[in-house]
Structures are given as C-alpha cells and as structure tokens.
C-alpha cells in the first residue's frame, strides 16, 4: 500500500515538474501597449480612407495620402515583426498589409484599377478591413488576458 502511494506521489511530482518545464518553453511576447495603439489608430485612419474609395475618380485625388498610409502601416508591421516571440502578430500584420493579396493592398489595387470601387463594395470591404484590425487588436489583448473580444463576435 505504502509503495503504491509512493509511486503515485512520484508520478504526480514528475507530472507537475514536466508541466512547468513545458510551459516555461512557450514562446509568447508580452502585451505591448505600443502595438495595441498602432493597431487602433491605424484602423481609424485606414477606415477613413476606405470610405473615400467609392467616390468617382477618388484614387487620383487621394494617391499621395494612400502612399502615406501605406508607409505608416508598414512601420506598424515592422514594429510587430521586430518583437521577439511575436510570430502570430507579425503574420497577421502581413496578411493585412503585406503583398498584393493582403487585405489592404488588395483593396487599394482594386481602387487604383477602377479609379473607385463599386458603392456596394464599400460597406463590405470596410467591414472586412475593420475586422482584420480587430483581429490584430484581439490577439494583442489576449497576450494579457484571455478574451473572445466583443469586436470579433458575429457582425450581422
């Protein structure tokens, strides 16, 4: 009986130590206030720009402002990418603004090609780009505390 108890205790101790060791190796950057602010302020700036994109020939009138926005978005991506153990956040920024298939550059590419986007596309693309930023904001918030994030609940 005593032997069984000792074996069980040893197993328990080993399990606890193993769990601690595994958890100690989990790579996750801490919550970053700057990253959070980058995402919230650039969300507002990007959505304001999206709202202009259905006006006739609006790309020509806003080309310089679009370039400026892209520079600011790239800076936010570089910031996230430069933080150690921040792989998930950096990849999400890349999906949002990385190449021509990214959400923001895809919208700009359509805007540039047609001079403006269809009015019916505006609410849809606005909702998607806002959700892209919300996902980045939610990821950052979850580094601090577990949350499903109100902004990521059903949109309709």
């Amino acid at each position: 009986m005593r032997r069984i108890t000792e074996t069980r205790l040893r197993t328990n101790a080993l399990l606890l130590l193993t769990t601690l060791l595994i958890a100690a190796c989990i790579p996750l950057a801490g919550y970053d206030q700057q990253a959070y602010q980058n995402a919230t302020s650039l969300k507002a700036a990007t959505i304001a720009m999206v709202e202009k994109s259905s006006e006739d020939d609006s790309f020509a009138a806003n080309g310089a402002a679009v370039e400026d926005l892209l520079v600011r978005l790239s800076a936010a991506y570089e910031y996230a990418n430069g933080v150690e153990h921040n792989n998930e956040a950096a990849k999400n920024w890349d999906d949002l603004i990385g190449d021509d298939d990214s959400m923001v550059k895809g919208w700009i590419s359509n805007w540039r090609a047609g001079g403006s986007i269809s009015p019916a596309l505006l609410p849809e693309i606005k909702m998607q780009i806002a959700e892209g930023f919300d996902t980045i904001i939610c990821l950052e918030a979850n580094k601090r505390q577990l949350t499903a994030c109100e902004s990521l609940k059903r949109s309709e």
């Binding site: 606890l16 577990l146 949109s155």
Partner: protein, 108 residues
C-alpha cells in the same frame, strides 16, 4: 505519510482543478472566435453572391471579398494560437504560486 507527501498530494489535487478551469476558459474564448467567423462567412457569401448576380459588384471585387474572408479565418486561427499559449502560461503561473502557497501552508 510524510509532510512532503502531504504537500505533493495537496498540490496535485489543486493543480487538477486549476488545469481543468484554465483549459475550459481558453476553449470557450477560442470557440467563440472561430464560430463567429463561420457564421459571418455563411451570411456574407450569400450576400456577396446576390450583389454579384445583380451586377452591384464586379467579378474582381467579389474575388477580393472571398480572398479576404479566407485571410480573416487564417488571422483568427493565429489569435486562437495565442489564446492557447496564454492559457498555458496562466496555468504555469498559477501552478508556481500553488507550489509556494502549499509549501507555506504545510511546512511553516
């Protein structure tokens, strides 16, 4: 049983409760994030198909929306990955505190 045995037993009992509650919490958040995406996608796809059929959006705009929706799913999955890591780290931190608290209770 020695005091050390009592200590390990007490830690293990509380650790099991802690693990169960941490996993439950992380699972709840992850499920909410992914289920919302599936529901959103269904409704959006129906709406976009109607817009395309009525000529309200162009084909390349429709493709952009579909591509973005797939991207959003990928982004949400990464957020869920972070939830998993956060839950594991929370468990580690609570377990550390448990080791110390129980030692104070039993040995001092």
């Amino acid at each position: 049983m020695s005091k050390f045995d009592d200590y390990l037993d007490a830690v293990m009992t509380d650790a099991k409760v802690l693990l169960s509650s941490t996993i439950k919490e992380g699972k709840k958040e992850a499920k909410a994030i992914l289920e919302a995406h599936v529901e959103n996608s269904k409704e959006r796809l129906e709406r976009w198909t109607r817009l395309l059929a009525h000529g309200d959006i162009k084909k390349r705009e429709f493709e952009l929306l579909i591509n973005n929706q797939i991207t959003l799913g990928r982004m949400r999955l990464r957020t869920v990955e972070v939830i998993g890591k956060r839950a594991a780290l929370d468990f580690r931190n609570s377990l550390r505190a448990l080791f110390i608290d129980k030692a104070f209770d039993i040995f001092l």
